[in-house]
Amino acid sequence: MAYWVGLLQDLFKNMSGLIYLKNVVTLKLDAQKCNGCMMCTIVCPHEVFAISDRKAFINKIDHCMECGACQKNCPEEAISVKSGVGCAAGIINGLLRGTEPSCDCSGDKAGCC
């Protein structure tokens, strides 16, 4: 029984196709500007970046979800990505209002000072 459970778990683990479309993301890295601080490898939730020879490089581009964390935290501005919500409802929202894609999660305006 334990054998079969293990087998099934293995099968499903290998089948976890949690990768989205290929060759679509807008992520770009200018390795010339990279200072090797490794911030991009820390903030990326999908291990898109790796370090080689004290410089970052894009290792798994198709894992990128364009969240923009790397761009925001790169002190050398070496990373560019058109970030936004990967959300169909948000895109439809944007189409209907004639704005950029935006999720409708919160109504009230932000700002503390």
Partner: protein, 343 residues
């Protein structure tokens, strides 16, 4: 606003700080269940502010979170047994990752709150621990320039915080990776199901009423028999798109969410056909396949927003083709189904 988690008060150089419990009460569990069903979800908030867990001092770590109660609860429970400061930002009741995407969990808000609460007087160190997913809105070097505090990105999941602390504020690759296991997907299904509640009542009702139409006029009996089947088919399409596709997400061997939804929808339609719920008449069967397919596909496509790995460029690419097709499928299906009322 719920304040039952406040258990005391601490007198500090930065003023009086409420002490919070790290226990989950029966009321928290009940509120969480309601929130997962989208009941009062947008109002499930904590007051923005600085809080204390245990008896923190000048050396203690500061953890930042959003003012969505579920986010706050995850953090305070993960800090059980520790002495720490908790800084809650005003994210309008939205979780860390979504708020970071919108910018409300961001550099400006964080910098303002660090200054407003006088954190430089409260602690002797200059470290502030921000959840990794907050990095979408927070720029560590800008916060450093604004406040002098070094942003340390903590693990993705609060449950890893203790391991993160004991390894000297270092997260493993595992702790930095966002996953989307079946357990997490199941938690999201209720909100998906509740999402289209008005349509779920309205559309089947319209189908039910139209089911009575025939070339002799209108038959109530026919509305009951055909209308009942129509309602079942529509509910099946809804469940296929909102629940079954998200559940089976990685195991449906295509990448487009709309395509995943179409496959599940047609699987449902085939089962319904087998049990005689679609029709015995080919044009009506085709119409139902088009309707169920488009509904399931559209709803599955909307799950891109709940998933943890879809990119804006990808969703835009997918929608460019899928959305028009869904509309055409639904329109032809509906027209076909209406025409078959009179044949």
């Amino acid at each position: 606003m719920n304040r039952a988690f406040i258990v005391g008060e601490l007198q500090t150089v930065a003023g009086k700080i409420p002490q919070i419990s790290t226990e989950r009460t029966a009321s928290d569990v009940w509120q969480t269940i309601k929130t997962r069903w989208s009941i009062g979800r947008m109002a499930y908030r904590v007051k923005q502010g600085l809080y204390a867990v245990g008896n923190p001092n000048q050396e203690s770590n500061i953890f930042v979170t959003a003012n969505y109660k579920l986010s706050f609860d995850h953090l305070r429970r993960a800090l059980h047994g520790l002495n720490a400061w908790v800084l809650v930002l005003d994210t309008k009741g939205i979780n860390v990752w979504c708020a970071a995407g919108k910018g409300t969990f961001g550099t400006k808000e964080l910098s303002c709150r660090i200054k407003a609460h006088g954190l430089e007087k409260l602690v002797s160190h200059r470290k502030i621990i921000v959840p990794q997913l907050g990095a979408t809105g927070v720029s560590a070097h800008e916060v450093k320039a604004n406040t002098g505090f070094n942003v340390i990105y903590g693990p993705v999941r609060a449950e890893d915080i203790k391991a993160f602390i004991s390894s000297g504020l270092k997260a493993t690759a595992e702790m930095r990776r966002v996953t989307f296991p079946v357990k997490e997907r199941v938690k999201l299904i209720p909100v998906e199901l509740v999402y289209g509640k008005y349509y779920l009542i309205l559309v089947p009702l319209i189908f039910f009423i139209l089911s009575g139409l025939n070339n002799k006029g209108y038959s109530i009996d026919q509305a009951w028999t055909n209308g009942g089947k129509a309602i079942l088919n529509l509910i099946a399409a809804y469940i296929s798109g909102c629940a079954i596709t998200p559940l089976l997400l990685p195991w449906i061997p295509v990448r487009w969410f709309s395509f995943k939804g179409l496959i599940t929808g047609w699987l449902f339609a085939t089962i319904l056909l087998y049990f005689g719920f679609l029709s015995a008449f080919l044009p009506e069967i085709i119409s139902w396949f088009l309707i169920i397919g488009s509904v399931s596909s559209f709803l599955a496509m909307n799950f891109t927003g709940s998933s943890t790995f879809t990119s804006l460029s990808g969703v835009q690419k997918e929608m460019k083709l899928s959305l028009p097709l869904q509309i055409v499928f639904a329109a032809i299906g509906l027209l076909g189904w209406l025409i078959t009322r009179f044949i």
